[in-house]
Symmetry: C2
Subunit: 272 residues, 2 copies
Amino acid sequence: MTRSHITGFSNARVKHWRSLRDKKHRKRSGQFLVEGLRLLEDARTSGRLPRELVMAAPELGGRDPHPLLEKLEGEVLAAGGEIITTTPDILTKITGKSNPQTVLGVFEEWETGLAVINRAAAPIWLVAQDLRDPGNLGTMLRTGDAVGAGGLILIDDCADPFSAEAVRASMGAVFTQTVAQARWEEFVPWLRRGEGQLVAASLRDTVPYRAAPYQSPCFILVGNESRGLPEQYEAECDLRVTMPMLGRADSLNAAVAGAVLAYEVLAHIKTR
Amino acid sequence: MTRSHITGFSNARVKHWRSLRDKKHRKRSGQFLVEGLRLLEDARTSGRLPRELVMAAPELGGRDPHPLLEKLEGEVLAAGGEIITTTPDILTKITGKSNPQTVLGVFEEWETGLAVINRAAAPIWLVAQDLRDPGNLGTMLRTGDAVGAGGLILIDDCADPFSAEAVRASMGAVFTQTVAQARWEEFVPWLRRGEGQLVAASLRDTVPYRAAPYQSPCFILVGNESRGLPEQYEAECDLRVTMPMLGRADSLNAAVAGAVLAYEVLAHIKTR
């Protein structure tokens, strides 16, 4: 059965998809939801296909046939996936949005251990520690795509990169940037087993961030939104740089700080 | 009566404060809410005092006496304002948060016409057009504080700078950065009546953003999150610069793009 139609609100599959809004259920099932044809198309062209495609039937207010959607449907079926049509009300129930996208994809989460990182593949890697806001996380993925970074390494207790908000804020970069998750105690030994310069913005040091001696592969470390980086994490860095703070505050939004630093590194990086 | 105590859920003032979560009611009353002692302290040290201070009574789970809170109370009373104690449940009702801050300030909105801008007062001004996300708006205010900008000019239909989310994301910069709101049709003639270079990131031009000929006062224009800037707005700019986009996407998060550009301008700006 590769095509089916669901109309019941209490259908077990509807309940399962709805549960994927919660991190706990995503982790338990290893699945997550992607909303909207645009993101699904980003996924497809990055080689990621949903296992299930859930969409409003055209006669029930779904979208008119669209060449990209037809292509996606064909590839999902060819890969052994499933197409499920349903009602707009059920899409609302699943997503919790009053105006949901008319198509959803159910994906299997992929491996995010440090082993997925090939550090030689890119000159820049972004690293976030205890980053709690999924919007900031998605924004960092998007920035990583723009600066040609290889990916984003999430240290300690970060937001879930597979949450709907992170996926949306990434504008599809979650499918192209490599994502890894690790504790600091695993990350540091992994980092030190190969080449790699760990860099953070800091108030405790005096190297100006402009034209500092950045080296490839450069790992740009950004801390928690409220607390910044723990002092011992800063101490582990190979390079601590200061950015001008001309106002009353002493910090930037975490995703902004990472982006300003990443663009500076991009302009000055030297390959070893 | 400068001190009072409210316990009734259906009290008219409680209903009024609760209504300030909606932009419509903020505009009608000209008031907005600021949550938490930290932001209230930022406001106070920037010369902004709430007209009313609403807090949980200590015996009802409010915070213990705090020197900064006592100072704030004293200044609010001296300025003819009012202190209202209430219950944690009512603070939850007002803010819509299950764990609300234990103190709220009710502020009068201030004037945000273009007349509030003294362009000679700072080398950088941020300008956002149709910026819809209050978090992005607050982040731009915070960035403006860091780069020594004078303020943020909101063009056309932006998020409300006095929303709780924008105030929070600004980390207090809403009290120190000048905020103006205008339609494009008012902004351009105002800009052209004095000195000022209008700069935007663009895909349609070829001046690299690094070390472009930025001039003070520099107005950095950022467009809507989804649509970017209208073509005629870009055409009005004195300088269009390109930033590297090495990935699949052709844009950055709006607040990130503004920040990367603002830090570049800060490093290279020439005073006329």
